[in-house]
Symmetry: C2
Subunit: 200 residues, 2 copies
DNA sequence: CTGAAGGCTTAACCTAGTTTAAGACTATTT
DNA sequence: AAATAGTCTTAAACTAGGTTAAGCCTTCAG
């Protein structure tokens, strides 16, 4: 669907606030290449074994990106809310089948761009190469911190850290989803929460 | 030190094989901005609380990038061998104190570029913006796989996976270092290795 | 040649986190 | 309004992996 002006404004503002701001020409280039899509709760942006066709910018709502292991358990790698991107980079850039799911946790609205159109944008507008380099750099740094956490902190410390770094998400998401993100069972998260209360 | 021709040739070949190959002009731009440095075994490229001044390309040797937790334990986030980069991106890009160490596991030779010189390279030669975007994308994908592993696989599976993905490293590194990378104790790795032998 | 320092293994004991199961509570659907 | 499906908690039994400690091998500096 043709994107609404308000959605595009959100994307422009995003670049303006956090990256090299776009010229009018560059904004027009966005407008002609992004499409808008509204997603129902529990609908999928991507399912395992599909090729990730779109990079998606979240205008409204909330998504989880997760993998399912042999025993059928979900493992959440990333949440994405307003003004964040949610894409399986491995599948998107190589255009090969994905190993993950991207699912809406709330009714959502996204702006999407196809892989070929993004490459086209990179080719014609130097600034996008640069802005996306920085964007991925920041993602890389965030991931590295997450690995460090998962290796060196116990469950309670990881939970505390999650609360510190994503206070808004802690209220917005059910504990089952947070537990999956932290790599523990909901039952054990429940115990941690209980122990914290009686401790403090 | 002024880089040797052979080191620069390794860096050029690296871009040629895996990225958009460089023109002669771009290669010259590298030559004037990279410096060569040889590192003794157990010497540090970076220590905690220092600012990561250089992005380092490994010409020869092997490094570990690790963090130390409150109880003094090392947690290895990354190994880097020939034709790989080793840099604390968080510290390097933000030019703020690092939370990690980078230490040589073998006598090593690296090519280094300062943050300002790299930005300069990005500004004057579009191709570096692009090549480094792709480089970080690939690093991002590798990290995401690692997180997935650490969340959803048990120690034995992680070890098997390490052997599959880094067969050369498995012979090159002591098991203590591999254990630290896998997030387990050397004793437990020893047990896994024993169980695998008797199992097969 | 010798001693010190790593590195690898084994084994007994310990603990963080899982599993299973059950009950209460809250949303969503019909 | 009832039915259904998800959510949160508690608790007992269990398991993956950690800790401590000891013994043996190799390497390398003096």
């Amino acid at each position: 669907m043709q994107p609404q002006a308000t959605s595009l404004a959100a994307l422009s503002a995003y670049f303006k606030n956090d990256y090299f701001p776009l010229t009018e020409k560059e904004e027009q280039a966005l407008a002609s290449r992004f499409t808008e899509r509204s997603i129902k709760r529990r609908a999928f942006l991507l399912q395992q074994d599909e090729i990730c066709q779109y990079a998606s910018f979240v205008v409204r709502g909330c998504f989880k990106l997760y993998a399912v292991d042999q025993s059928g358990k979900e493992h959440i790698l990333q949440f994405a809310v307003e003004n964040e991107w949610v894409t399986d980079l491995a599948s998107f850039y190589a255009q090969k089948p994905s190993g993950v799911y991207i699912e809406a946790l709330e009714p959502a609205l996204v702006l999407q761009i196809k892989h070929a159109d993004l490459l086209d944008l990179f080719t014609h507008f130097h600034k996008f190469d640069r802005n996306f380099r920085i964007l991925v750099e920041r993602g890389y740094i965030a991931l590295q911190n997450r690995i460090l956490q998962s290796i060196s902190a116990n469950a309670e410390e990881r939970y505390q850290n999650f609360l510190d770094q994503h206070p808004h998400l802690a209220n917005r998401l059910p504990n089952t989803q947070i537990a999956s993100y932290l790599g523990i069972t909901p039952e054990f998260l429940s115990k941690i929460r209980k122990d914290r209360v009686t401790k403090v």
